[in-house]
């Protein structure tokens, strides 16, 4: 720009000089020509002035831009350093909360011989804390704070409060195919434990037979998945070692099995001579979607085995088959077939087993376009269990889920129970409001 304007200036000056150096002496230059040249010089002068102004403007703009860049730089730096300092940026809390009302009919007594409760209210707050250390490391802990009204044995109409850990685990994503999990983990025996939370369960009560399996255990696990093709199909796996079941009193009697795990405390408060061998287990699943969303089948096989008595002479083992089917956005069918076996000194090998199947149909599938009806899902479940020691129970559950929003559910169920255990109530009515956040 400068060179240009200088050049223009010089040209203009030369012109003026040239013009003034050859005034009227040369008769060849007419007035007309002179005036024309004068005009040209004036125009050049104007152009030169304009250029000068333009240069000043541009210089100012450049200055402005530079200060702006400096400011933005500073802001970016401040922001990134605050991201590093602000741990809350990587911290997320999710979870669910439930309020429950239940009324039981029939049934002789509770296991302690007290008259059976006739209604209770339960409130449950189950937050899950997630802390992401980086893209590959996640710490997750799920808690359960529960107020259970009128359910304490021997204290009719009293309430109990409990705080428990559902899981507390560290996840380390090692590569695309494998994640290491360590800590207190939900166990992949079937899918129910890993996929149970208030906002997931369409029936408040657990299926029969889940009490034959440990829900969680301390240990380590490797898990991951392999995609098959590009249709969304995949094979999933989980392999773990965890503190297996133990004995509540040092013995290997059938009644002494404690699925809660080998935690080191006996029922009398002393530390027991617990077995030191862990249990090993795992699950393999196959997920097959066909035709895009809402049409899929998942099947899984899982198991666990390890010694349970302190002497380490008797094994507790389990095998579970699970399946889940979706046909369209409205219909779901799922269930599990649960088997477990454990050796005892008094009853030989005990074989508790159970089976449950649950179907759900969302009335939105009828395309009735009615406000409340279209937000209702009808649910039915059949479950049956035998504890391997003479007690067997069958149950039919029929109910509904009313979706107030995608995470606020109002559920109601009626259960018909048939058992040769007199303590088991005959029927039960349950309402639950659950919220996932």
């Amino acid at each position: 720009m400068k060179i240009n304007s200088r050049f223009l200036g010089t040209t203009a000056a030369t012109c003026v000089l040239g013009l003034s150096a050859s005034p009227r002496s040369s008769a060849a230059v007419s007035d007309e020509d002179f005036n024309a040249l004068k005009n040209v010089v004036q125009q050049l002068q104007q152009a030169h002035d304009q250029d000068q102004q333009q240069i000043q403007k541009l210089q100012q703009q450049l200055g402005d831009t530079q200060t702006q860049v400096q400011k933005t730089d500073a802001a970016v730096q401040a922001q990134s350093s605050s991201t590093i300092r602000n741990a809350l940026h990587n911290f997320t809390m999710v979870g669910d909360a439930e309020v429950q009302y239940a009324k039981t009919f029939g049934g002789a007594t509770d296991p302690n011989g007290n008259p059976h409760r006739n209604g209770f209210l339960l409130a449950d707050f189950a937050p899950i804390f997630l802390y992401r250390a980086n893209d590959n490391v996640l710490f997750e802990a799920g808690f359960d704070m529960m107020l259970n009204n009128g359910s304490v044995s021997g204290h009719e109409n009293s309430s109990s409060t409990s705080v428990g850990i559902s899981f507390a685990q560290l996840d380390y994503v090692m590569n695309d195919y494998m994640t290491f999990v360590g800590g207190y983990m939900l166990l992949p025996l079937g899918t129910y434990s890993e996929r149970a939370a208030g906002m997931l369960n369409k029936i408040p009560d657990d299926p029969l037979g889940r009490e034959f399996l440990p829900g969680a255990g301390a240990g380590a696990q490797l898990r991951g998945a392999f995609a098959i093709g590009d249709s969304g199909q995949m094979i999933t796996y989980s392999v773990y070692g965890a503190n297996g079941p133990s004995s509540i009193d040092n013995t290997a009697l059938a009644g002494s099995l404690d699925l809660g795990g080998n935690v080191g405390l006996l029922s009398d408060g002393s530390t027991g001579n617990l077995h030191s061998a862990p249990s090993g287990g795992g699950r393999i699943g196959w997920f097959i979607p066909w035709g895009g969303a809402h049409k899929d089948l998942e099947i899984g096989i899982s198991g666990q085995s390890g010694v349970w008595d302190d002497a380490g002479d008797h094994y507790w083992s389990a095998g579970v088959l699970d399946a889940s089917l979706h046909i369209g956005p409205s219909f779901e069918l799922k269930g599990e077939f649960i088997n477990s076996w454990f050796g005892t000194t008094d009853a030989g090998t005990v074989h508790p087993w159970a089976v449950w199947a649950q179907a759900g149909y969302k009335l939105a599938g009828l395309n009735l376009d009615l406000p409340v009806i279209s937000d209702v899902e009808l649910i039915g479940r059949y479950d049956k269990e035998s504890n391997g020691q003479g007690t067997s129970t069958r149950r039919y559950t029929f109910g509904y889920v009313y979706y107030l929003t995608n995470t606020l559910l109002f559920e109601g169920d009626y259960e018909w129970l048939h058992s040769n255990d007199l303590n088991v109530p005959a029927n039960q009515l349950i309402f639950q409001l659950s919220y996932g956040f």
Partner: protein
């Protein structure tokens, strides 16, 4: 004391065996599956395109629970939640990444 000894026995010693078992299993699965994608591609032909993040979201994110809409959380929260779900639901890495991209694009802030 006993509990401590017990703990170390239980958690550390089997880890080696476990990793070995898992590695064997993983290796086996990888070998079995390595051939699969090629076979699947042949069957469906080149016309079939890869599933997008939103399609994968539609297939996976409402089969265990009601759908959680992308706008319910912000990008940073989704980054955390996708790892949570990837581990819990055993989602393949590539699919989780595609879904995360979709969720972040549609996220509420």
């Amino acid at each position: 004391m006993k509990t401590i000894r017990c703990f170390s026995n239980i958690v550390i010693r089997p880890a080696g065996r476990l990793i070995l078992a898992a590695a064997l299993l993983g290796g086996l699965a990888a070998t079995l599956l390595a051939a699969e994608p090629a076979a699947a591609a042949k069957k469906t032909g080149p016309a079939k395109k890869k599933l997008t993040g939103s399609e994968l979201y539609a297939i996976n994110c409402n089969r265990c629970h009601q759908e959680r809409y992308p706008t319910e959380f912000n990008s940073a929260q989704w980054q955390t939640l996708i790892t949570h779900m990837r581990v819990r639901a055993n989602l393949p890495a590539k699919q989780a990444k595609e879904i995360l991209k979709y969720l972040k694009e549609e996220a509420g802030g």
